[in-house]
């Protein structure tokens, strides 16, 4: 078990390192970081001082080590646009994005899995065909269009839900605010969460459907039928359990990408999260923010991956056995 975790950790570190190299290369070679800090009339010696302060006079590999060291301390430098530490900017906006991502993830799982099971079990029924059609429309509509559609319907036309912002937020700790404790916060969350989750939901639905159809064809399901087990037991015991094992992995990775997809939703709903910050950074070539965001997504992905592996081991006895042996 320990060896398994260690091996996974090593792989994770490798991924993170690769991303760190990319992030550092961006930071170092896309535009001159010094020029972003000094202004045109800064005296030459002062420019040189800034260069020294940033360690840019050292060999590249030392700069890289320094970059990594700083990153581990949570220091990704100063934003060019805001003249503030990147970490602080991201931390301020993290609660908004994480809350949004979590809600959409829940939404996509709670709605997607039952829909997938239903379409697999009654695949020739009217309901299944309807769900299939809806899911296809779901993957065909760009997220931003769905957002616009929802805004038009529920905000402009019906006036039920707000079309932008987080509503009223409550401060839980110094750097954590939540919109989940106020009515306006919850109302503000509904449309963005659905917008963000809809695409994932259709993916999960299609995935569950495909896996379940696959499982229904296996010998052990046929054998379960031959043993005269009740259909309900076969469908929701045997088949569903086996379906969900591979779904866990892919769904986990999909959910990881929700945070990145949030860029679009946040833009549509002017949601004050990290995605909007990243987009502004791209538009204004604010490399430190871009690099930090990149690293953050990678770290998150690695974490989710690790978690999914452990979950997988908890569900699948075969994997548990191989882990124990290794």
């Amino acid at each position: 078990m320990l060896a398994f975790i260690l091996r996974r950790l090593a792989q994770s570190v490798a991924v993170l390192l690769t991303v760190a190299i990319i992030a550092f290369a961006m930071f170092r070679f896309v535009g001159d970081p010094v020029n972003q800090i000094v202004s045109l009339d800064t005296p030459a010696e002062q420019v040189e001082q800034v260069r020294k302060d940033l360690g840019l006079d050292k060999p590249v590999y030392i700069q890289f080590v320094r970059y990594i060291g700083n990153a581990l301390k949570g220091d990704f430098g100063q934003s060019y646009q805001f003249r503030q530490p990147v970490t602080k900017l991201l931390a301020e906006r993290a609660p908004a994005t994480l809350e949004l991502a979590l809600m959409s993830a829940l939404f996509s799982l709670i709605v997607g899995i039952p829909m997938g099971v239903y379409t697999a079990l009654y695949r020739n029924g009217f309901g299944a065909k309807l769900f299939q059609a809806v899911s296809l429309i779901g993957v065909s509509l760009p997220t931003f269009l769905i957002g616009i559609l929802l805004i038009y319907l529920f905000s402009v036309h019906l006036g039920w839900l707000p079309s932008f912002g987080r509503g009223q937020v409550v401060k839980i700790t110094d750097n954590w605010t939540t919109g989940l404790l106020t009515l306006s916060g919850i109302k503000a969350l509904i449309l963005p969460a659905i917008t963000l989750g809809l695409f994932q939901m259709t993916l999960i639905m299609r995935l569950v459907r495909a896996e379940m159809l696959e499982v229904m064809r296996t010998d052990y399901i046929k054998f379960a039928r031959a043993r005269g087990l009740k259909t309900r037991v076969i469908n929701f015991g045997h088949a569903l359990k086996n379906t969900l094992v591979p779904v866990i992995t892919i769904a986990g990775l999909q959910l990881g990408s929700i945070i990145a997809f949030a860029i679009i939703t946040e833009t549509v709903f002017q949601w004050p999260g990290m995605g909007v910050l990243f987009l502004k950074a791209v538009q204004n070539v604010d490399i430190p923010i871009m690099a930090a965001y990149l690293m953050m997504i990678a770290a998150l992905f690695v974490l989710i991956n690790l978690f999914v592996d452990l979950l997988y081991a908890a569900v699948d006895p075969r994997l548990r056995a191989t882990i124990r042996e290794s």
Binding site: T218, D219, Y220, I221, K222, F223, A224, R225, A226, R227, G228, L229, K230, T231, V233, H238, K241, N242, V245, V315, D316, P317, R318, A321
Partner: protein, 328 residues
Amino acid sequence: MTQPVLSVRDLSVAFFTRRGVLKALDRVSFDIAPGEVLGVVGESGAGKSLTGQSVIGLLEPPGRITGGEILLHGQRIDNIPADEMRKIRGRKIGMVFQDPLTSLNPLYKIGDQLTETILTHLPVSATEARQRALALLTEVGIPSPDRRIDSYPHEFSGGMRQRVVLALALCAEPELVIADEPTTALDVSVQAQIIALLKKLCRERGTAVMLVTHDMGVIAETADRVAVMYAGRIVEIGPVREVVQNPKHPYAQGLMGAIPTLEGGRDKLVQIEGSMPQLKNIPAGCAFNPRCPHAFARCFVEKPDLVPVDHSRVACYLYDDKRAENAA
């Protein structure tokens, strides 16, 4: 004569595909008496497994029963509601699949799979079901069953898993077991053990067996009677000694000639020329006519029915002299 456990009468099955209707079983009829082992042999695609699936009511689309009836103790079971049929599966008719590696759900302990089957069919408590499961595991020869009952399928070898599958098929004391190629996927060294076990368990319980296989050796050792299938029809059915030692139908003769005997000297290994036709181009008349060394004009026009010859029944005009004369 006692009433047979299973009677299959003129069973026809067809596949409804977009390329047309393919006849997969053509008026198949046979009986199985209580405690009897009926071997069903033939090449793959002859309809052996399909017959088994039809009997247990697990025919998969696009396959469908198009005619005939299946009777269990004289009661029709081919047209009863799905839930009635479900209650018969496992309880009255058990089934053993070919591949023990894929027949067991990898995510469930074997003990749970056993107790769940027992509880579905028998009015016992969970504790009793578990005791029963333990007894069964002992009976099928799983060493230290009290420890192994909580193991997952992957922790067993192929042979052991097939023993578990046998236990599962028999756990509600069915009167008939359909064993579909139960040893094909196993190591040769294990095959004999499993067959012996199947035979022993069924004899003790008086369970009838429909043993589907293409292994004539297994049939010769195990079966009381044999049905030889070819292209969706039974071409010969009779007591095992008679069919093996004195086959009547030219196809059966070819098939039996293909069994290597220990004495070796009796016959040289015979090979049947050509191969069985695909469902979509079964020839008119007797399906065996393109490969039959004795085929004559009538064989290309009419389908022979099973007629009694000695103790067997054979579908071949070579044994239909009187009718052949009448027709001529």
